[in-house]
């Protein structure tokens, strides 16, 4: 071993203090509880008028459930990925991608069975703004917390964190916006989510680099 390496070891261990152990489970718990709390707030306070009726429809209910599951699984994967060894449970990474695939298949099915005419879409900039807020604020908080840990997969970590907040944004927008016309959903829900998610994932990958 060289002198420099020995000197570095000496310096690093000189004034060492006890550290507070980072708990991915705790992070997931906090994130999950916040997700549930906000979802419940949306359901009981700012919900769309026809929410209870809509929930009786199988496809809408499944959509909400898959979005919720994707949000939770994304948070779980992001929390696990925050540790260098992914808590030695790498299979967790696949969960958000799995539920996201089901959600996407459900959305794609709706697109296929309904005729789409983008030109007749309602103007819905408000939905896009809501989505931006629903995604960006949680994304900043989550990335800030994840930065305190030490992910060795900064890009993947950022992607799953963004999947989590994006599906959370999607869930909220579906719970409050009464417009189910597919053209409106594509233009003012799906596209803004995709756009914001890409930007957030790109920033996240940079932020999580250490």
């Amino acid at each position: 071993m060289t002198k420099e390496t020995n000197k570095l070891i000496e310096e690093l261990s000189k004034n060492i203090e006890s550290v507070k152990i980072f708990s991915p489970f705790k992070l997931f718990l906090i994130w999950g509880i916040s997700l549930i709390a906000v979802a419940l707030f949306m359901v009981f306070v700012v919900r769309r008028e026809d929410l209870w009726l809509k929930l009786q429809s199988g496809s809408f209910f499944s959509e909400i459930m898959f979005a919720f599951a994707t949000g939770l699984f994304g948070a779980l994967a992001a929390s696990w990925l925050a540790t260098p060894d992914v808590k030695q449970q790498k299979w967790v990474i696949w969960l958000p991608f799995l539920s996201l695939t089901f959600l996407m298949m459900l959305v794609a099915y709706q697109v296929v069975i309904q005729p789409v005419n983008i030109t007749e879409s309602d103007f819905g900039i408000g939905c896009a703004v809501d989505i931006f807020i629903f995604i960006m604020i949680p994304a900043v908080i989550l990335l800030f917390i994840l930065r305190k840990a030490a992910s060795t997969h900064n890009i993947l970590s950022s992607v799953v964190a963004v999947i989590s907040v994006a599906s959370f944004g999607y869930l909220c927008s579906r719970l409050i916006c009464p417009n189910d016309i597919l053209e409106h959903l594509i233009l003012w829900h799906y596209l803004p989510i995709l756009l914001v998610a890409i930007i957030a994932a790109f920033i996240g990958a940079k932020v999580l680099k250490w």
Partner: protein
């Protein structure tokens, strides 16, 4: 009396609580493990030392993320491969820059400094020939064909039965080698 930690896992748990002596031992053991892994993939001695130091700093920064309930080695190996990948990413980025530099080497060598093209940018033709003679045959042929006889990379590739990119890569290496040979001759 406290039982002294024996395994690396136990030592790390004690180190997390602020024991400087044990922490120093942990870092020493990590540097030995890291050296073993890195030496198998990196040749340059200085680079190996730099990577080990990067790893030690990373372990120090992220020591709060080690969970004592799990084995220590996979945790530290994840950090080692993370920093090793970082090194390779930077290494190949720099290698790309060097690749571009070879072009300027070629320009420096073969830009004619007089209309008669008697010398090559200050290098005497005789000196160039001497330096060329020291090059391996394949490299010598490529330099002659491309820079003295003026064939394009495609034409050289056709003549020598090589791909265009292989000719270009070989040409870049040859120019660099030629420059080194010239410098040796001048010295």
């Amino acid at each position: 009396m406290n039982k002294s930690p024996k395994t690396l896992d136990e030592k790390m748990i004690v180190a997390q609580s602020g024991d400087a002596k044990i922490y120093s031992e942990v870092l020493q053991e990590i540097s030995i493990l890291a050296r073993k892994i890195i030496s198998a993939r990196v040749n340059k001695k200085d680079d190996i030392e730099d990577i080990i130091q990067e790893i030690l700093i990373s372990v120090h920064k992220s020591r709060h993320t080690y969970d004592g309930a799990r084995p220590f080695k996979p945790w530290v190996r994840a950090i080692i491969s993370f920093r090793l990948n970082d090194y390779f990413r930077k290494y190949y980025k720099t290698a790309d820059k060097e690749y571009v530099d070879y072009d300027s080497v070629s320009e420096q060598l073969f830009e004619p400094s007089s209309q008669e093209n008697v010398t090559f940018n200050g290098y005497d033709r005789e000196l160039i020939n001497k330096a060329l003679a020291n090059l391996p045959e394949k490299q010598r042929n490529i330099v002659k064909l491309m820079k003295i006889e003026g064939y394009t990379a495609k034409e050289v590739a056709d003549q020598l039965g090589m791909s265009i990119s292989a000719v270009k890569v070989s040409a870049h290496r040859s120019y660099k080698k030629l420059k080194d040979e010239l410098e040796k001759l001048i010295a």
